[in-house]
Amino acid sequence: MNSSGTKFALGVYTSLFLVFLYAPMVVLGILSFQTGPEGGPQFPIIEWSTYWYQHLFGFTPPSRIAPLPINEALFRSLVLSVMTMIVSTVLGVSSAQAFRRKFRGSGVAFYLIVLGMMVPGVLVGLGMALVANVLGIDRHWWGTAFVLHVVYTYPFAFLVMLAILNRFDPSVEEAAWSLGVSPIRTFRKITFPLIFPGVLSAMLFAFTLSYDEFSRTLFASGRDLTLPLAIYGTFSVEVHPNVFAFGVLTTIFSFALLGVYAALMTLSIRRAKRIAIQEEA
């Protein structure tokens, strides 16, 4: 497109659009350095301090503002995310593996899996709460909430693996079989190492989605809070900058995770590139 006036206008618009996307987080980050305990969640900044960060970790003298219940919640959230990550990645890899052969009913199976990421959390959450209620099962984050987390993240892992396996050359596996190596050992020694970057992506997806999930958890987890539920709990009460400080920390955590993933991926891509260059030479 070559109409410079339109291009310029749209460029300005897009910058404003990005400001719209980022401004709230920036403001939240600034306000997290408000002084405490008397400083409120608004401008102006009375005095810059890290009071609310210390408050989060319980390093401040007791005040009328109760600390966020994040210690145990963090533990639960991490355990839940890891459990979800493992199960949904295993399910995702094995289902995607099954989809490498065409079979009758593959369309129905595909939609059944993908439905898990489409149905809103409030509906599955409600459904699971009803099932637990009718069957007289106690709801726990490691039980009813966990299975719903997998319902949500497994489709993502499945789609990632499907994309990876679509590009996988099956003759490498057949070559291993023809050497007398059993399909299971072939999968472990050949297929898995070759699809590992994909597995890593599937794991990252599953972990972060589960770590951030709250609507399913809200209905299905019973009394014990996970991290998102602890934040959700503050919605109905007065908000203090400690929640903002917490928001900054979780955001940093998410990016650290993304950084680790990016580093691992760069390593494997660099290896692949080196190989490709040598191939050309």
Binding site: V172, E174, L179, K189
Partner: protein, 358 residues
């Protein structure tokens, strides 16, 4: 020679396509067998059925006296060399070669010392010395071919299937690998089933040459027999050295739209499909007015162009129905007179040189 593999009435269909249509096949022990088939003739399907990657719809496979239809690929003791080599990209040359021995289900070799010795021997056999620690992506096409072969041979299968193994190599290398493959096979004493779409490759390499046509073995014989006495017009066509005519047998002549060719003394071969074939190098090109002997057949055509290939010249003529007719003149015998493009000539051959099918 005893048989190592015996296929009987094997069928395999994909939808409406008959990839294998009641195929019978016997492979001798300790031999180099070349399987010639044009693309779409079912040759890859046949290999995949033998290897166990595909299940046949019907028929029996007997390998070393045992039926193997239901046996999984890794329990068959049949090696497979892929056209794209299918090396394990994340393993070194040595690890690729050792892979089968180390990880196979039956009788794996776990002692690193024995493993090392076996790999070393195999590396020497296929001529890969010094490359053991290279990544398989760091070596040339011909070297990859050797790794693929070594990886298979080290597990000592009784039969090795090679799916167009030279297809991915450039012409120079292909010529060298032909000799090497034959030599390596002789040292190992196993049967190679080498599938190819190139007639010269099949004829040059096979102790036994099989020709696959429409999901069946159309001919199984030594190279000389296949070349000089193709069993059917279809086989003759694959060999790429015969001019073929459709038509019917009538009395002492072969009738086709262009002319009626008088027949010699030989009895027409039964092939199910009438046809008339004359080899490229059995034809003489003469001026229109030159006389024709009693035992000769004459056909007029327009000269189009020729192609010089060192030892021979291939001349192309347009027949009156538009089809191309090819003549090969070996330069060691006679130097043919220069032909004028767009001029008409008489193409003459001996009646007895033609192959007639009924």
């Amino acid at each position: 020679m005893s048989a190592v593999l015996d296929l009987s009435n094997v069928r395999k269909t994909y939808g409406a396509l008959n990839a294998l249509d009641g195929l019978d096949l016997t492979l001798p022990d300790n031999a180099y067998v070349a399987l010639l088939g044009p693309s779409g003739s079912g040759k890859t399907t046949l290999l995949r059925v033998i290897a166990g990657f595909e299940t046949p719809d019907a028929g029996s496979l007997t390998f070393k006296g045992n039926r193997i239809e239901g046996v999984a690929p890794h329990r068959r003791d049949i090696g497979f060399v892929f056209q794209n080599f299918a090396l394990f990209p994340h393993l070194s040359v040595a690890k690729n070669i050792a892979f089968g021995l180390e990880h196979r289900d039956i009788d794996p070799v776990t002692d690193p010392k024995i493993l090392h010795t076996r790999v070393k021997d195999m590396v020497a056999l296929v001529g890969l010395d010094g490359l053991e620690e290279r990544a398989v992506t760091q070596i040339s096409g011909g070297q990859r071919q050797r790794v693929a072969l070594a990886r298979t041979l080290i597990t000592e299968p009784s039969l090795v299937l090679l799916d167009e193994p030279l297809g991915a190599l450039d012409a120079n290398l292909r010529g060298r690998m032909r000799l090497e493959l034959r030599a390596i096979r002789e040292r190992c004493g196993v049967t190679f089933l080498h599938v190819t779409g190139s007639e010269s490759e099949a004829l040059a390499m096979g102790d036994l040459v099989l020709v696959l046509d429409q999901g069946k073995i159309a001919q199984a014989a030594d190279a000389d027999t296949v070349y000089n006495q193709p069993k059917s017009p279809a086989v003759a066509r694959f060999l790429n050295c015969y001019n073929l005519f459709d038509g019917t047998l009538s009395g002492n002549g072969f009738v086709n739209p262009l002319a009626t060719f008088p027949l010699g003394g030989a009895i027409p071969r039964q092939s199910g499909q009438p046809g008339y074939a004359i080899r490229y190098d059995r034809i003489a090109v003469r001026p229109l007015d030159e006389a024709v002997a009693n035992d000769e057949v004459r056909l007029e055509a327009t000269f189009v162009a020729d192609e010089y290939s060192g030892a021979a010249i291939n001349s192309f003529f347009a027949l009156d129905d538009g089809r191309v007719f090819e003549v090969e003149s070996h330069l060691s015998q006679t130097v043919p007179a220069a032909l004028q493009p767009q001029s008409r000539y008489a193409l003459v051959w001996k009646r007895d040189d033609a192959l007639v099918y009924a």
